[in-house]
């Protein structure tokens, strides 16, 4: 007997008898002999809970898994989340339910998805949002496909070079197999090259343009006027925006984007080695029936009560099969709940405070790093939010190793000399000072010993 199997010997005998089968393995007699698996799996033997805990305590001991003070970003941020969030998403009614197909016993899930969609629509300024996607990268790739499918006589989808290269790679992968070309629009001083963009647009045939805000390097770009030019050739303007920063920053809707996408991990979701996060996707009403993924809508029940239900399903794979807007089935529902509770607690003011603290911390750190004399701005004069790039005069890898040895993850290298650092409200003034101190003290020769 095993704790997850309730079958007693007596149960087995009764059930086999009712089934008309002698031995439980006879249930598989219809499998061709040559395909039957007859040995034991080469896997460890069962571990008791006690042994499991010991095993994982060992795996998470500092020499195996080390908590670093995090000044890294690049798409994954160490933000604060109120304790309530983690506690509530563990409620089994949410955790152990499936997609809310049976609306009568799924109003909990349907309500929070409706709230989530409303919050994403409000943060981005867009008309509607879907119930969420896998992550920010796949949401962006889906937006590229949306742009391509929406265009009648296009030849390519444009992608700004300032879009996170990891996301770019996913977009390129999807586009390659889906069968449409991606053209990279180069950057000047860390921002999209408007001349190069104008040249691309002059050639015509642009199905859409994808940009990021703040961009990969942390720079807040000015996208004024771009949407009109894209719209002139019936293309779609896609803005990948960090939703946390949208407490302050101009919204995708204000940039006149047709589609807004991004990674919602920055809304308090733990980093957990990169996943699960949550991709969001929002669009204009005009594109409502072209958007992939699940959507929850309001309606009434036969008792006259306001109720919520999955809607606009004729777009989806289980009805449209190969003509669906996407192959996506599930959303990232529990993570959407995470975001919804987080935003309910942080609210209007909290999200702004998080943004202010992160902005202040990042600018303070940048000033202090430049003041050491060892760094200079990679992109001089560019406005940034809570992430920035600086060029280091010495051996960058050695410097990072030194920081790691001291318990600090001092950022991500984005070039031989360039270091990208992110600051969130979780980083205290003391931590900022200590990081600057470690860097200040560091001499390349010492590290090489």
């Amino acid at each position: 007997m095993f704790k997850y199997f309730p079958h007693t010997e007596e149960d087995l005998q009764e059930m086999l008898k009712a089934t008309g089968v002698e031995n439980i393995h006879n249930l598989f007699d219809d499998i061709p002999e040559a395909a039957r698996f007859k040995r034991d799996y080469e896997l460890p033997e069962a571990l008791s809970e006690t042994d499991l805990r010991l095993f994982f305590n060992q795996l998470t001991a500092p020499h195996n898994t080390r908590q670093l003070v995090c000044f890294a970003g690049a798409g994954c941020y160490d933000h604060y989340a109120p304790s309530v969030v983690q506690n509530i998403i563990q409620r089994s009614e949410f955790l152990t339910s499936y997609t809310p197909y049976q609306a009568e016993i799924s109003q909990g899930t349907l309500h929070y998805i409706f709230e989530y969609q409303s919050m994403i629509a409000e943060l981005t300024g867009m008309d509607i949002a879907n119930a969420s996607m896998y992550d920010g990268a796949t949401a962006t790739a889906e937006a590229a496909i949306m742009a391509w499918n929406n265009a009648k006589k296009a030849t390519r989808v444009l992608v700004s070079e300032t879009l996170d290269p990891k996301i770019r790679r996913v977009v390129e992968t999807y586009a390659h197999f889906n069968g449409f070309p991606i053209k990279l629009v180069p950057a000047v001083n860390g921002a999209i090259d408007r001349n190069a963009l104008d040249q691309e647009l002059a050639e015509g045939g642009v199905a859409g343009l994808i940009v990021q805000q703040p961009n990969y390097f942390g720079i807040v770009e000015d996208y004024t006027g771009i949407a009109d030019k894209i719209h002139e050739q019936k293309g779609i303007f896609v803005v990948n925006a960090n939703p946390s920063d949208l407490a302050i920053l101009k919204t995708p809707a204000e940039w006149r984007a047709d589609v807004a996408v991004g990674e919602g991990q920055s809304l308090g979701i733990p980093m957990t080695f990169g996943g699960p996060g949550v991709g969001y996707m929002a669009c204009t009403e005009k594109l409502m029936r072209k958007i992939p993924g699940r959507i929850v809508g309001q309606t009434i029940d036969n008792r006259g009560q306001r109720a919520f239900v999955l809607t606009l399903q004729a777009r989806e794979q289980h009805i449209r099969r190969q003509k669906a807007t996407s192959n996506i089935c599930s959303n990232q529902s529990l993570m959407a709940l995470y975001v919804t509770i987080y935003l309910s607690l942080m609210g209007k003011e909290g999200l702004r405070e998080v943004a202010e603290m992160s902005y202040a911390g990042a600018h303070c750190l940048r000033d202090k790093l430049v003041a050491t004399g060892k760094f200079e701005d990679t992109f001089p004069g560019q406005p940034f939010f809570n992430e920035f790039c600086v060029d280091y005069e010495g051996d960058l890898d050695a410097l990072l190793d030194e920081c790691t040895a001291n318990g600090y993850l001092a950022g991500i290298t984005v070039g031989e000399k360039t270091l990208m650092l992110a600051v969130t409200e979780q980083r205290s003034p003391e931590e900022i000072d200590e990081l600057v101190d470690i860097i200040q003290q560091f001499k390349t020769e010492e590290a090489k010993v």
Partner: protein, 505 residues
């Protein structure tokens, strides 16, 4: 579950000035966002709720009471494998040491996490009878798409670019053709026989006609009717003969644990739904995880990043030693590319790995047999009242075609809704499409004979009600927070945000 509707939206509980968070106040305020040019800032603050902590806690707790999960009761949703989600999985996945890891931190500082990742890859390979796995895909559909990309990348590498068609049985889940379309493949349907299995003669004919254009074939086995495809070995051989690869949709893998492996049936590429077969919670529709496995020779077509194990010879202080560890290959020369920003849903992988370690090699073998026994038992006990269109052994799930006696006009939808009144989740309905009144029941291995017997009794009772009081069944549910909803209204005049809702009221 609370059978009264709670019904509020968080926006309706908001009051200006309330807050539900606390942040430190001692930080350097030398810089503020007011420095940003006005052109870069939003004009109006986002209308997010303003609530105190208790209001938020009660709101979501109350919402949860209008939801039904596996922990609330029997959840026989066919094809979804709603097995028990062990609590220890959650405990381990919630360990702070994992939660605080940044995906780009140096590999030497996250060996524990990489070991989990690597060992899960290896365990899945053993369970599937394949060579290598990637854990990057975030869901089953994402895995399907990734797997099809592997197949296309393989043909591209051989400059065999004319293979643009994929064969899919007409009984397949809608996701299969949808994934194929996203992957740029043209779908060609293979017909089913009356018993729901693949029509091998039709397949042969298709391969004769277009074999050189076939990239591969997607199959679910046991198929979507819960039937094992008896000619699977012939099918895989025929497709290989024509130069195509075989894709195994792991949706129904649970039935086979302990008895049969996809690799041994001749499949080349597959995905596994960790949220089905490996007990991770469905979370109301995600996050899942859809690892993709390949047979030997296709490893180089898996997406990046990859996690590998290496052994390094080191000079020790006294004597040389071997360091065994894990490295992350982020920029590997994959012919495929990447399907996500980082490694996929790591927390979900942790839960699946805990499940595998909990069961161990001896108990994993029991999963398929017990799940299959439960399904066959239900089949035998219900076939008097519910129409069993295909006799013989089923695997982990059984499909009925509505009531045997349809004279009162009670449909599968009605039966499903009536089940909700009795405290059960409904089975999958109206899928597979082969029958008009499909009712697909998947009990999983975790359900006891008592639970199943009670469910069987209720199913018989509903069949009785359909004869004696059909209106009661046709108007069900009666005992749930809400009754049947007007989904025509929802689709015709979509209201998908609170803002639209208040603008229209």
């Amino acid at each position: 579950m609370n059978r009264t509707l709670y019904g509020n939206l968080i926006f309706e509980l908001s009051k200006k000035g309330r807050k539900g968070y606390s942040l430190p106040q001692d930080y350097d305020r030398a810089h503020t966002t007011a420095e940003l040019p006005e052109a870069l800032r939003r004009k109006e603050a986002a209308r997010l709720p303003e609530c105190d902590e208790l209001t938020v806690v009660r709101h979501y707790t109350n919402l949860s009471h209008n939801n039904f999960g596996v922990n609330d009761g029997f959840y026989p949703l066919g094809s979804c494998t709603m097995k028990y989600n062990p609590i220890i999985n959650e405990e381990i996945a919630g360990m702070k040491a994992f939660a605080g890891l940044h995906p780009l931190q140096p590999a030497v500082t996250c060996q524990g996490a990489l070991e989990v990742y690597y060992n899960l890859q290896q365990s899945l390979a053993e369970l599937a009878g394949l060579k290598e796995f990637t854990l990057n895909p975030c869901a089953g559909a994402h895995g399907e798409l990734t797997g099809l990309m592997v197949i296309r990348a393989y043909h591209e590498s051989r400059k065999d670019t004319g293979r643009t068609k994929v064969l899919i049985p007409d009984s397949a889940h809608g996701t299969n053709p949808a994934s194929a379309a996203v992957c740029g493949l043209e779908v060609v349907e293979v017909k089913s026989l009356a018993d729901g299995t693949v029509d091998v003669e039709h397949l042969r004919q298709l391969l004769n006609e277009m074999g050189g254009e076939v990239a591969g074939m997607m199959m679910t086995n046991p198929n979507t009717l819960g039937i094992f495809e008896p000619q699977v070995l012939e099918i895989t051989a025929m497709v290989h003969e024509a130069g195509g690869l075989m894709y195994y949709d792991g949706a129904n893998l649970n039935a086979l644990l302990g008895e049969c492996r996809p690799g041994d049936m001749g499949f080349d590429v597959m995905h596994i739904n960790l949220h089905k077969t490996f007990s991770t919670p469905h979370g109301g529709g995600g996050p899942g995880s859809g690892p993709v496995g390949v047979r030997e020779g296709l490893e180089q077509f898996l997406p990046t990043p990859r996690v590998n194990k290496i052994v390094v010879n080191c000079d020790g202080e006294n004597e040389p030693y071997e360091w065994e560890g894990y490295v992350i290959d982020r920029e590997a020369d994959s012919a495929l590319g990447s399907v996500g920003s980082f490694f996929g849903n790591f927390a979900v992988m942790l839960k699946a790995y805990v499940y595998i370690l909990s069961l161990g090699s001896e108990n994993i073998k029991q999963v398929g047999p017990l799940a299959t026994l439960n399904a066959n038992y239900i089949k035998e006990c219900l076939k008097g009242d519910y129409l069993l269109p295909i006799g013989g052994l089923c695997k982990h799930e059984v499909v009925f075609d509505g009531l045997v006696d349809k004279s009162s006009g009670v449909t599968t939808m009605d039966v499903a809704k009536r089940l909700l009144d009795y405290g059960y989740h409904a089975p999958t309905i109206y899928f597979p499409l082969l029958f008009h009144e499909s009712l697909m029941i998947e009990p999983t291995e975790n359900e006891s004979k008592e639970t199943i017997d009670a469910f069987i009794d209720v199913m018989h009772k509903i069949a009785g009600e359909a004869k004696t009081d059909p209106e009661l069944v046709k108007t069900a549910p009666h005992n749930t927070p809400i009754g049947r909803v007007d989904d025509v209204l929802a689709a015709k005049q979509p209201v998908t945000t609170y803002w639209k809702s208040i603008a229209e009221s």
